[in-house]
């Protein structure tokens, strides 16, 4: 596995961990009835900032851990070199991720227009943000494995 593929796998795993933790806490808050009051929007907004902080911490820790494990197993300290192919693959991943998020966002707006709960729609948008990041990573991994 190349260093680029490893970076993508780390990003995927950390995104899934963060999202699982986020969903767990959001579920607890929903059961406690925190989202039925007037401050639900503010609470949801704050949760996004906690999520961003958590993602940064988890991805840094995961990167360090994988780098240490890789150096210990293979005995080599691989330089993080990237070239034109990496840029093309990264761009493709970004494209697919953007299209996925845009489609989800528009369908979300349709749901909102047809009377869906606003807080639930914002929550879904946050979920789609994460899902699009995962989809983008999977596309990049696919191109690294199967070729462009």
């Amino acid at each position: 596995m190349s260093s680029q593929e490893r970076t993508i796998v780390v990003s995927l795993i950390s995104a899934l961990i963060c999202f699982a933790i986020y969903l767990y806490y959001m579920n607890d808050m929903y059961i406690a009835g925190d989202f039925s009051g007037a401050g639900a929007g503010a609470l949801l907004g704050q949760s996004v900032f906690y999520l961003i902080g958590l993602s940064i911490i988890v991805s840094i820790l995961a990167s360090i851990l994988v780098a240490i494990v890789n150096a210990a197993v293979t005995g080599e300290n691989e330089k993080d070199l990237s070239d034109e192919r990496d840029k093309v693959i990264s761009l493709r991943g970004l494209q697919v991720s953007f299209i996925f998020f845009a489609s989800c966002y528009i369908s979300n707006m349709f749901a909102l227009a047809w009377g869906q709960n606003t807080i639930f729609t914002i929550f879904l948008t946050i979920c789609f943000m994460f899902a699009s990041s995962v989809v983008g990573d999977l596309v990049k991994l696919y191109f690294y494995r199967r070729g462009l």
């Binding site: 070239d83 034109e84 192919r85 990496d86 690294y144 070729g147």
Partner: protein, 75 residues
């Protein structure tokens, strides 16, 4: 309507062998790209930019058409 198909094949593997069995890593270092990209180009999974194609030809000290071949056919 006839459908045109094209394919870019290469002789990198043979050229490496003839160049004192140059490794993919050595070629990558000479060209300034990653070994994974050399692997992808060799397997025809990726068509490099013109600049990288010229750099690969330069690494073997041969003209570009000795490294890459463009095949075009209409079905």
């Amino acid at each position: 309507m006839a459908k045109a198909k094209h394919n870019v094949s290469n002789e990198i593997r043979r050229l490496r062998f003839n160049a004192d069995e140059m490794t993919q890593k050595q070629l990558a270092e000479k060209v300034g790209i990653t070994r994974q990209t050399i692997v992808a180009i060799e397997k025809a999974h990726y068509s490099p930019s013109l600049e990288v194609a010229f750099l690969i030809a330069r690494a073997f000290e041969v003209p570009l058409d000795k490294v890459f071949t463009f095949e075009f056919r209409e079905d």
